[in-house]
Amino acid sequence: MTHKPIPKMLRYAVWMVVIALALAFLFFRADWDFDYVIPKRLVRLAAMLIGGVCVAWPSIVFQTLTGNRILTPAVMGYEAVYLLLQSLLILFMGTQSLVALGANGNFALSVVLMLGYSWAIHRWLFRDGRNNVYFLLLIGLVLTMVIGTFTQFVQFKVSPGEFSVLLGFSQASFGKAEPGQLLASAVLVAAVCAVGIKTLPTLDVLSLGRDQALSLGVDYQRAVRLHLALIAVLVAVSTSLLGPTAFMGIFVANTAYALARSIRHRVTLPTGCAIAIGIFILAQLVVEHVFNYRTTVGILVNLVCGAWFLALMVRTRGNA
């Protein structure tokens, strides 16, 4: 088709920028220190690669399933559940919970809890054969609010020292990722990708909506359930690895659509992942070298993505 070459170049350009950023991140002011600085940076880079996939994939697929371009899985309450778990751990076990569980224990617990959470809501919602995605969203929104308020209540009960630990959980950062945790995340993400990549054409059909998908022979309910489960795994990995990055998904997804000029998931998903990884690396570079760790990636990303998204909304006048 005639209008394909330019987006294709754009997509390659995105990957070039990401590779350039990654190299800059690895070697900038590193003094070729292959013993300490660069291996440490490689760990953070790996966290960013995994994080990028875990932010971009769920957002884009979730928007396909809901046929809406402003929603992300955060609306379903995943990140709220994560924060609630951290708050409860601190409340009942104090900062000792961190020692008792260890970072890996905490991570495993978060993943299991979030999978359980998504299993519970889907099971409950699909119980009577009702599969209205908007109803699902409304429930997710209400749950987010309820859990969020409860978390705040818990946070008022803890001591200021413990509260500052909690604050660390509630902001995205690559500093807290550990190699063991990274390996577990990488395995989970690879497994999700292996399952997901086979169903990319089905995802394209799902974007036509329930009726058209069914009429084209896609078992809609099963496909939606599968993809919601995959989303649950990825969101669980990303929130426990990096902390909440709610706002970024919207930005990443919409930028990916704009760059890809296509609804094919074969195109939008890799582009979205590239954009997310690029943003993470850029933010981390700025945090490390400009702000000297006086701010976090989470704050920076939400600030920039938020501003961009606001501009997008104003410019498209509600058509987003």
Partner: protein, 258 residues
């Protein structure tokens, strides 16, 4: 050939379709007509398996459809719903290509490409091939969706109000295309249509519904009569027979029976 027997759909204690038994003859164009709320679309959606019936049976060539996997069903029955409000950035060709999904699950073969070309040519959509769906008119978009349904190469096509919001020219084009699908390709077409004159001019068979039940069904000459239509719609019909076919006139300024 599709037939339904004793088909019922209830929501809570509201019955939308009650005990409908009807036949949709093979290689013919059948129109479902009737007032709003008669259950036409619900019946069609149950045949399309987009809605599960509360009770009753749907038979495709004599076999109950519940035993057919949904992926196989998509190669036998294609459904087009009222054109959804669509905000996807897709070209006409990309949309039509979706019609091949039941066969190739996304990886198009040369055979798929041939069928896509045929479907586009069948509706004379070649000039719009590369046009984006959100940049063409509603009538053109409906034609593009119909092309996708045609590319699905099913024996049966189910269409829910395909003429909705179309100007008369596009409506005639769609009906002619459906007629040709029956006559040239031997497909079975079932559609819900509100304009009684379109139904009378282009159908072979009509199923008229009222209040969730079949009011009357049969060949056009049996259903399109003043007595049947008066009772169906509660309007005063005058039917004229001309060399061009039947013309139903239900316009009547005073609203009183003449």
């Amino acid at each position: 050939m599709i037939s339904v027997s004793n088909l019922t759909k209830t929501y809570g204690n509201k019955t939308v379709v009650s005990g409908v038994s009807a036949q949709f003859p093979a290689r013919q164009l059948t129109s479902l007509i009737g007032p709003n709320g008669a259950g036409k679309s619900t019946l069609l959606m149950m045949i399309a398996r987009l809605l599960a019936p509360s009770s009753g049976d749907i038979l495709l060539d004599g076999h109950s459809v519940t035993g057919i996997p949904i992926a196989d069903y998509a190669r036998r029955v294609a459904t087009l719903r009222q054109s959804p409000d669509f905000n996807l950035r897709l070209t006409v060709e990309e949309l039509v290509a979706f019609g091949r999904f039941p066969y190739s699950r996304g990886a198009l073969t040369p055979e798929d490409r041939r069928v896509i070309d045929e479907a586009i040519a069948f509706l004379s959509l070649e000039p719009l091939r590369g046009a984006y769906l959100d940049e063409i008119s509603g009538g053109q978009r409906q034609m593009a969706f119909l092309a996708m349904t045609i590319a699905q190469q099913t024996d049966c096509l189910l269409l829910d109000e395909p003429l909705n919001n179309l100007d008369i020219k596009h409506a005639v084009q769609i009906m002619r295309a459906l007629r040709r699908l029956c006559d040239e390709q031997g497909r079975t077409v079932v559609l819900v249509v509100h304009d009684i004159n379109f139904a009378a001019s282009y159908s072979d068979h009509i199923v008229a519904m009222k209040g969730g039940a079949v009011h009357c069904a049969g060949p056009v000459s049996e259903v399109v009569t003043e007595a049947q239509l008066n009772a169906l719609y509660g309007l005063d019909f005058e039917i004229t027979r001309s060399p061009r076919g039947l013309l139903c006139n239900y316009f009547n300024l005073s609203g009183e029976p003449t």
